[in-house]
């Protein structure tokens, strides 16, 4: 824990990742990414959702092995087959969801799995407390006691416990995945103090964050990933926000998105000052008949929460919703449905599909009122509804009696979309409509969205894929921290302008554009 603290020339990097490749069924998550970190450096990893950051850190943490390529620690190749291998190599990872035992104390959490032992392999409680106090003192943390129960701590303090846990295992490489996502401003300042102390001790910190200001505040170098590929590694001193945004979003012009020009009609959804704390803050927006409004933003910016508030899953505390001009007070999904609102949730697996049910039963689930008379389902009408849906959405199933859970992701998504349209809604809210499905099914869904808009449906589309947002939307709204922070017309919208608004460096990027 001494020597070349401020050495600028990396002799042998502490951690070095060489041409790592990783594929999952249907997705190439990483294609030949190289990356290194030296002692006493904070190296930021930057990229859009799905750029490959998580895959990269999971490989380095031993969650799964790469298909090709290698990881070196101190210049020597290491085999990171299991998380335990990474720990032994001195690599510790602090995930967004903290992995602590809430019923146990600070000391117990820090030393879980490697408690100091006395004779007869008894746990040496005294040594454990002493070591914990030494660790606390070394980072100048004075508001945390070794015997506090972790469940009673603030998020910031819990995170400190995780950091201490990493240090107790002599971690030399510390990976932090969006550590500030849930922190208050004060805790962020304290986190930065700790990171600087670790840096001074020669720890290499790999810092993942969406927040550009943090990267400029704390990082020495930054590596940008895009679509699983390494785009650039820059010294933070040599770059600026606009450049990073551009590197992140790139300039992918894709003609995948067949947006049909349609005439836009009257407002279908009008939202005014909608409030549902913490993630929906004074939101106002309008979606008109025939219009597709894209809702961009980072994960956690409150887009899905807004959708669920409009749909009555988490009813609003304050504000006004109008559907086709009528003021409404939506308290439940059933009520939203009867008002002509449809919501296709983000997580098909847990929110959209009843997997053990047949294709037919899934198709009719949101429209049982349409096929049931006097409480009993008209099988003929139901079969027709499902058959129509299967044809209209080109669902590839052996028959409408196939179990929905056995279909591919794209076909499942088509069913989830289709079951809502069986109800003939006026407003369709789509949450990540094409996440995780193959290109063919994606194009199919985009084509359908275009058609539906042409038929006068108002569509609010949440998407984390900027090309999709740009390709499909008539208008783009950008959310950040629960608010709508920018609005662009189809003509104004560019990857750079939307990206900058998402990241909160709007002004910078506009100058650059």
């Amino acid at each position: 824990m001494t020597t070349d603290l401020h050495s600028e020339t990396p002799a042998t990097p502490l951690l070095s990742v060489r041409t790592v490749e990783k594929s999952f069924p249907g997705v190439r998550a990483l294609s030949g990414v190289s990356f290194d970190a030296v002692r006493g450096e904070v190296h930021a990893l930057l990229g859009e959702n799905g750029a490959g950051k998580s895959t990269l850190i999971k490989i380095v943490s031993g969650v799964f092995p790469p298909d090709r390529g290698e990881v070196l620690v101190d210049g020597k190749p290491v085999d990171l087959a299991r998380p335990d291998d990474a720990r032994r190599a001195g690599i510790a990872t602090i995930y967004q969801e903290l992995l602590l035992f809430p019923e146990l104390t600070v000391a117990e959490n820090i030393f879980m799995g490697h408690a100091p032992r006395a004779n007869l392999r008894r746990i040496d409680w005294r040594a454990m407390h002493e070591k914990t106090n030494a660790l606390l003192a070394s980072l100048e943390i004075h508001d945390l006691q070794a015997d506090r129960v972790v469940g009673s701590l603030s998020v910031g303090n819990r995170q400190r416990v995780e950091i201490l846990r990493a240090l107790s295992q002599d971690a030399r490489i510390l990976i932090m995945d969006e550590p500030t996502a849930a922190l208050t401003e004060y805790d962020v300042t304290r986190l930065f103090d700790i990171v600087r102390k670790l840096k001074a001790r020669g720890v290499a910190v790999i810092y993942i964050s969406h927040r550009l200001d943090e990267i400029f505040a704390i990082a020495d170098r930054v590596t940008v990933l895009r679509d699983g590929a390494h785009v650039a590694t820059k010294r933070v001193a040599d770059t600026d926000a606009a450049e990073l945004v551009q590197l992140m979003v790139g300039r992918r012009i894709e003609s995948l998105f067949p947006k049909i020009a349609v005439s836009i009609g009257k407002p279908v959804l009008e939202v005014k000052d909608l409030e549902r704390r913490p993630l929906t803050r004074s939101v106002s927006l309008t979606v008109r008949a025939g219009e597709i409004v894209g809702l961009a933003g980072l994960v956690g910016s409150g887009r899905s929460e807004l959708a669920q508030t409009i749909f009555g899953v988490t009813p609003a505390d304050n504000g006004e919703i109008r559907i086709t001009g009528q003021k409404v007070d939506i308290r439940s999904p059933a009520q939203a449905r009867s008002l002509g609102v449809a919501y296709v949730p983000e997580d098909r697996g847990t929110q959209g599909l009843v997997r053990p049910m047949t294709v037919r039963e899934n198709f009719s689930l949101a429209a049982l009122g349409k096929v049931a008379f006097g409480g009993f389902i008209d099988r003929g009408a139901e079969r027709k509804l499902a058959g129509d849906g299967v044809r209209r959405f080109a669902v590839k199933a052996s028959s409408i009696e196939q179990i929905a859970g056995k279909l591919s992701g794209g076909n499942q998504q088509k069913i989830v979309l289709g079951k809502w349209l069986a109800n003939a809604p006026k407003l369709l809210i789509l949450d990540e409509p094409t996440r995780g499905i193959d290109v063919g099914a994606k194009a199919e869904i985009h084509r359908l969205m275009g058609e539906l808009a042409a038929q006068g449906l108002a569509i609010l589309m949440i998407s984390s894929e900027l090309p999709e947002v740009l390709g499909m939307s008539d208008r783009v709204l950008v959310m950040r921290e629960g608010r709508i922070v920018a609005e662009f017309s189809r003509e104004e919208a560019t990857q750079e302008s939307i990206g900058a608004a998402m990241m909160g460096s709007h002004e910078n990027a506009e100058e650059a554009a």
Binding site: T350, G352, V354, G405, K406
Partner: protein
């Protein structure tokens, strides 16, 4: 744009094969196959008298399993049903002995059954307490309450007209068997064709998706438990009226036998899958096995172990099937 791609004939064949491989078909084959096999070993097993005794003595289990199946399909469980059947039988018998009109005695079992189960449904659905805990509590309350109130005394001198189980429809069909078949068919039709039945499958299969489709999960669960209470009431009447006396206890582990019938009948313990036809067939199969053990000179105490094997085999098969589906 091609959609339903298999040729008509092929689909037809596949569907037919699938029907044959269904849990219900397997159980039906097992019921008949076992009867033939044991009959070959010991023809007395097939005597009309024995077969009818097997059905008569166990029809109440099948009826209760119909309700239990609905509860499990909705993603819940109920372990209080055995104790409840004992309580309902005692209430009904006490009323009958004390001169209440027989119809009132019968109705009381059904109404109290519905009320007790609906109350549990409300606690489970609206207070969001796991069903296993709520029904475990109710099990103790009912068992303890029953033995304290009755002091363990048997109810005798029941009026002749009280004995539902004595009725024979058209002179041949014993009422318990009739009720078992009727309850199964009505429940099967209702589960298959009613919107509420569909809601039970949806809530058990994916509660979140059901909620987003505008299906009220709490209301569905209360409804399921109320229906389960109705079937428990009917089961209690069959149980109460098949003997000349009502003991203030029920067969030990009755609830487990009922749950076994549901699970072996193909109802997924994880919810969302199963049919009441399956559970009735399984109840018959279990009763048949118990009787068969006697006829092939095996100690009837083995029935518990056999039930255990049946449960493990069906649950493992169900979990493996689900896993394969999740992997696809």
């Amino acid at each position: 744009m091609t959609t339903v791609t298999l040729a008509g004939a092929e689909v037809d064949l596949r569907r037919r094969l699938k029907v044959l491989a269904s849990q219900e078909a397997l159980l039906a084959i097992a019921v008949i196959g076992l009867a033939i096999a044991v009959g070959l070993y010991n023809p007395r097993f097939l005597a009309a008298r024995n077969l009818s005794d097997v059905l008569l003595g166990n029809a109440y289990i099948a009826v209760a399993a119909v309700g239990m199946s609905m509860v499990i399909i909705s993603g819940n469980i109920d372990i209080s049903v055995g104790a409840l059947i004992g309580v309902l039988a005692t209430i009904s018998g006490t009323l009958a002995v004390n001169g209440a009109p027989i119809v009132v005695a019968w109705l009381a079992a059904l109404v109290v059954g519905i009320l007790v189960m609906a109350l549990q449904g409300v606690i489970i659905a609206y207070l969001r307490i796991p069903a296993i805990v709520v029904t475990l509590g109710m099990l103790s309350i009912l068992k303890g309450g029953l033995i304290s109130v009755t002091g363990g005394k048997w109810i005798t001198d029941l009026p002749d007209s009280f004995h539902l189980a004595d009725i024979e429809l058209l002179g041949v069909l014993p009422f318990p068997v009739f009720l078992m078949i009727l309850a199964t068919i009505l429940a099967a039709l209702w589960m298959r064709y009613s919107a509420s039945g569909r809601a039970i499958y949806a809530v058990g299969g994916n509660a979140e998706a059901a909620r987003l489709c505008g299906i009220s999960q709490p209301r569905t669960i209360v409804m399921v438990f109320a229906l389960h209470g109705l079937f428990a009431g009917a089961a209690a009447l069959l149980y109460a009226t098949q003997l000349r006396v009502i003991q203030s206890t029920v067969p030990p582990n009755l609830e487990l036998t009922i749950i076994t019938a549901s699970v072996v009948g193909g109802v997924s313990i994880l919810g969302g899958v199963g049919t009441v036809v399956g559970s009735t067939l399984a109840a018959v199969l279990i009763a048949e096995i118990a009787s068969a053990l006697v006829f092939i000179d095996v100690s009837p105490y083995w029935i518990r172990a056999v039930q255990g094997v049946l449960i493990l085999v069906t649950v493992i098969a169900d979990i493996l099937r689900r896993r394969r589906m999740a992997g696809a």
